[in-house]
Symmetry: C2
Subunit: 216 residues, 2 copies
Amino acid sequence: MPRERTARPSADGAPTSGRKSARTRERILAAAAQILSRKGWAGTRLVDIAEVAAVQAPAVYYYWTSREDLLAEVVVTGQQATLEHVVASLDALPADASAFDRIDRAIAAHLEVVLRRSEFSLAAIRNAAQLPDDIRERQLVGQRAYADVWRGLVEDAVAAGELTADVDARAARMLVLGALNWAPEWWNPERGPLEEVVATTQHVVRRGLARAASGR
Amino acid sequence: MPRERTARPSADGAPTSGRKSARTRERILAAAAQILSRKGWAGTRLVDIAEVAAVQAPAVYYYWTSREDLLAEVVVTGQQATLEHVVASLDALPADASAFDRIDRAIAAHLEVVLRRSEFSLAAIRNAAQLPDDIRERQLVGQRAYADVWRGLVEDAVAAGELTADVDARAARMLVLGALNWAPEWWNPERGPLEEVVATTQHVVRRGLARAASGR
DNA sequence: GGCGTGTTCTAATCTATATTAGAAGAATGA
DNA sequence: TCATTCTTCTAATATAGATTAGAACACGCC
């Protein structure tokens, strides 16, 4: 059995050796994300993951206790990556940033994760509705935490009087998140730089939600 | 084997008998849509479909030649339903409707299908990325046809000078479609009437895309 | 009130895939 | 260079689930 607990690829140095091992683990995890995002929860076969990761299927069991465990980790990772990146981006903003500047930042951060590290977040997004009940449960917790961040953003905008008063805040928030989450279905780096989509999205959202004259 | 070809539940009367049979077929198809939308392509088991449809699994083979055939029909049906409903809605509009009125209408129609007949369209939307290659192929054709409708709507708006000039038309279109397709993930009839979401969405999209002052 | 056709069922079959067992291969420290 | 521990493999095993075969049931028609 591997010694690391929920070991991330991060700096956190485990006491003993195990470098190559850690890399294999990451390789398998990434492969799982890739397959999961394309084939769905039930369609993700260990053999396919193994092939991409260049190992044999049973190698998986050295790192995870079951296929379900592995896939669950992919989903959780994808979810956390989004939350963490968005929160970090917001924290990096000057304290006096306007509510809409914060929303712009969140849009950019969300798109960055979802379109760049797309394998993990795609896996999380596309499979959210198909998770087995117990995993879905855990997933919902993370989802709620993330929803709270956005709820906060929108509430602040309302409080600051920057958001148009005549739309339901929840609906507005979900429409925006929908547009963001859908981006991986059509965006493709070859079509143009990420910055362009980000700018367009910010632009459209800002005009869509902002109180009257607030163009750019 | 059943006598009807691609028989729809519509008025079209098949020559001979077969009423009860047709109803069973519909029941199975609907059950398949329900399961498919929740469990994903690979996770959709014949036994589950059968249970919902109150038949035994092998009954499916009386109407379809394989599980894949059945599921493919669900996806195609879901897709067509959307296209047809939207096109019909647009056609019902007076010829002198403004480009944005047409977009409003399309938004409403899309949401109506996706949120009311949600089982089929959900199945189509959620599984689009997970279809086996051959089916995916067929799916893409339908998807392109639908994309064309929206492309037309947006182009008209641009031509009419109603749409803001400073955003990429494709991106704008896809952001809107994303917001629409995501609606089933959060909307729920108990939270409020469909008309409300429709109105909110129209409002936000209109402001998001319309050239400067075009509120309502 | 029995015959043929249409519909559904029960009881196999057959295959794909997760999982386990246990051997073989590296890496590491003495 | 050997012994130990970590990592991965090959070869079973076990099961779930699609599909097929063929029997039963229902129904309309004579």
